[in-house]
């Protein structure tokens, strides 16, 4: 480190083992969190490059930069990376590990060794997935959904990719078990359920979904691998199997998985908004229970992905209805954030800008979700780029932006240094504009009827595709600027004290970066709620 020296290095220097092994064998939740953060960010950058490449291919009708087979592989690998290696673990595994134990006044998670194993499962999964691109019979080309019968018949490296996703699922399960147990067993004295920060509540709901839903993906992927190896035909209609059953099993996990993706993001937003509006979170219990309600209701709606696959009309009616039910707790959250902002003394610091754009993007994505939840409009929109626009609005505009908010909010805590705010704001503006241009155009061209996952398209779809691709470049510039700024800030930024934002949750009462065992010799005793700002002062930096 250069320039102003940090006098205190926290968990970076205090380790029972020195050097790289002190990291690779560490069971400390903060070190594991940092390791997750590094891997996940790397995977995000790889995935984003592939995304830009897809958009570049679609800039104009006809072949531009790659062939059709490469295109199929590119969007498949982009999807697998972004879903299984970026958004599912991003906030829970990285920031959950970093922040959750400190927020509830614990010294570590319940099972530190399991935590480390979970990180290794993630790394093995990621490495295998990357292997599947370069080895064997070519990169998988099924789309991240591994739909049969194509996935059981294609000659590409699907088995390896499916096994990689299996390992990543295992990692996710272990994290979930750890968090549920930790929240039940390791809360500090005075940390009642009513004083849990909202981030902890959302991680709690998320962890239950991870535990209850992920094994279903596990068995589905194992079956795909077995089908490929033995040609068993459980999903093959010609041999008495049923491809629709695959879709059911797959979405029984993968729909709840979108709540694994979004809930922790909502938790981040619920932390950031009160701090920068300097008001307690509006409707604490409504917020806590809506998280659980989203997790519960979200587990019942998987078949809204299958309206067009062949289901009874009655089943469509039921799943359509249930899908609309999920909108209620989601809307409760949005209204409560807005009510928290109402008459607050709002400070537009970088984390807050990302949080506000989360609300904006997530609302657009959510409304699009209603259009897709209603069977009538879904029949028109399914498998068009409208769907792609919709899920990017919720996942990238939602969780992605929440992840960026979390980076800007908590990195100073864990590095002890602050990034440049002006550059952060410019990067945010580019990101926000680029994001909306890219995906709004994609939604619009989808409504016109442009199918998704197509290598080529009719000339009338050209203008909007061009707009979308140009948007993706603005987006990319914003991303580069944001990452460079954060990196520079972490290395050379001004040193910050314990509490640069003036927040009231426990992690801001310990030094930045926190010491190895979080709280010094005595366990903390909690005497106030997470959003009682009276008497809390922000440190200068």
């Amino acid at each position: 480190m250069t320039q102003s020296t940090l006098t205190y290095n926290g968990f970076y220097s205090e380790s029972p083992r020195p050097g790289i092994l002190g990291w690779l064998l560490s069971t400390d939740h903060k070190r594991i969190g940092i390791m997750y953060l590094c891997c996940i960010t790397t995977m995000f950058i790889v995935g984003a490059c592939l995304g830009i490449a897809i958009r570049l291919e679609l800039i104009a009708p006809g072949p531009t930069i790659m062939g059709p087979q490469t295109y199929n592989a590119t969007f498949t690998v982009h999807g697998i990376i972004m879903i299984f290696m970026f958004i599912i673990p991003s906030v829970p595994a990285a920031f959950g590990n970093l922040v959750l134990p400190i927020q509830i006044g614990a010294r570590d998670v319940s099972f530190p060794k399991v935590n480390l194993i979970s990180w290794y499962c993630y790394v093995i999964g990621a490495v295998l997935a990357l292997f599947s691109i370069f080895t064997g019979t070519g990169a998988p080309d099924t789309g991240w959904t591994f739909y049969v019968p194509f996935s059981t018949h294609t000659n590409t490296n699907v088995s390896l990719a499916a096994f990689a996703a299996f390992m990543l699922g295992f990692s996710s399960i272990l994290t979930g078990i750890n968090f549920v147990t930790t929240i039940h067993r390791l809360r500090a004295k005075g940390m009642t359920w009513g004083r849990l920060p909202m981030f902890v509540w959302t991680l709690y709901a998320t962890a239950w979904i991870q535990v209850l839903a992920t094994p279903m993906l596990g068995i589905t992927l194992v079956l795909v691998i077995l089908e490929r190896t033995f040609g068993a035909g459980l999903f093959d209609a010609a041999r008495g199997g049923d491809p629709i059953m695959f879709q059911h099993l797959f979405w029984i996990y993968s729909h709840p998985a979108v709540y694994i993706m979004i809930l922790p993001g909502m938790g981040v937003i619920s932390e950031v908004i009160p701090v920068f509006a300097r008001k307690p979170l509006f409707g604490y219990w409504a917020m806590a229970f809506s998280s659980l309600a989203i997790a519960f209701a979200g587990s019942l709606v998987w078949a809204h992905h299958m309206y067009a696959s062949g289901m009874s009309d009655f089943a469509i009616l039921v799943f359509s209805f249930l899908t609309f039910i999920v909108a209620i707790p989601s809307a409760i959250k949005v209204f409560n954030w807005v009510s928290t902002l109402y008459k607050g003394s709002i400070e537009l610091a970088p984390p807050m800008l990302y949080a506000l754009s989360f609300i904006f993007n997530f609302s657009i994505g959510g409304l699009g979700g209603l259009a897709l939840g209603a069977a009538a409009s879904d029949i028109h929109l399914t498998d068009t780029t409208f769907v792609v626009g919709h899920f990017h609005y919720t996942m990238f505009g939602g969780l992605g932006f929440a992840f960026f908010a979390a980076l800007h909010y908590w990195l100073p805590k864990f590095t002890g240094r602050m990034y440049n705010h002006k550059i952060a704001v410019i990067a945010w503006a580019l990101l926000f504009v680029g994001f909306n241009v890219t995906y709004m155009a994609m939604q619009a061209v989808g409504i016109q009827g442009m199918p998704r996952r197509y290598y080529d398209y009719l000339p009338e779809f050209f203008p909007l595709n061009l707009v979308s691709t140009i948007g993706s470049w603005v987006l990319a510039i914003g991303l580069i600027m944001m990452f460079v700024n954060l990196w520079q800030g972490m290395r050379k930024g001004p040193v910050v004290g314990k509490n640069p934002w003036g927040a009231a949750t426990l992690e801001w009462t310990v030094p930045s970066p926190p010491p190895m065992d979080n709280f010094g010799p005595d366990d903390p005793v909690v005497t106030r709620g997470p959003y009682e700002f009276k008497g809390v002062v922000a440190d200068e930096y």
């Binding site: 094994p215 279903m216 008495g240």
Partner: protein, 199 residues
């Protein structure tokens, strides 16, 4: 540096959560069984009669006994009877081996008849029969894998008992392995009637 932390209730709680995930893992196969049974009731019955019920029955008895021995091992370690704990654990492991050997003979016989996933003989028997046997092999295979994992787990913990790392005051590891073993038993209790008995 780090402060000694021990939470037996928490460890047990975590194990129960993990067992729940195992139940869901198997439930995917049970769902497929239910759907296929509804589609091919006659063929399922026909296929089920081809399975040798004696193998299944013996294995059920073996697993039930092993659940008993591992449960007794827990009582033994609570009373600080280390030798008896080791003996009972060894019996559990032996029974696990008997189960696997029995399964080996059962599968060999069936494979000898040309019945295995992807075989031509099976394909000739038509859709429903094929589905039954595929599910049978995959479910029993996954269960067999769990027997193997459970046996390994109990072996490792037994070594720790012998070395004095798992003791009368500190036996959660043994208890958790036993819980896992009961799950293996429980899954079989469902598999046995579904594949051998009721059709």
């Amino acid at each position: 540096m780090s402060i000694e932390h021990r939470d037996d209730t928490g460890a047990r709680f975590g194990m129960w959560l993990f067992l729940y995930t195992e139940v869901i893992l198997f439930s995917g196969l049970f769902i497929l069984y239910a759907v296929s049974l509804a589609k091919f009731p006659v063929q399922f019955a026909e296929a089920s009669h081809k399975l040798n019920i004696y193998f299944g029955t013996v294995n059920t008895l073996v697993l039930l006994t092993s659940s008993l021995t591992i449960a007794l091992a827990i009582t033994a370690i609570q009373r600080n009877q280390i030798k008896r704990t080791l003996l009972l654990s060894a019996m559990t492991i032996a029974l696990a081996l008997v189960f696997l050997i029995n399964k080996y003979f059962e599968w060999s016989a069936e494979i000898g008849h040309g019945i295995y996933p992807g075989s031509e003989h099976l394909a000739e028997m038509g859709p429903g029969v094929t589905t039954f046997f595929n599910l049978y092999y995959f479910t029993a295979g996954l269960h067999g894998l769990h027997v193997l994992i459970g046996g390994t787990l109990i072996s490792i913990v037994s070594i720790m008992v012998a070395k004095g790392k798992v003791t009368a005051e500190r036996y959660t590891l043994l208890e958790n392995s036993a819980l896992y073993w009961h799950l293996v038993d429980l899954v079989w209790i469902f598999l046995f009637p579904l594949y051998y008995l009721i059709l």
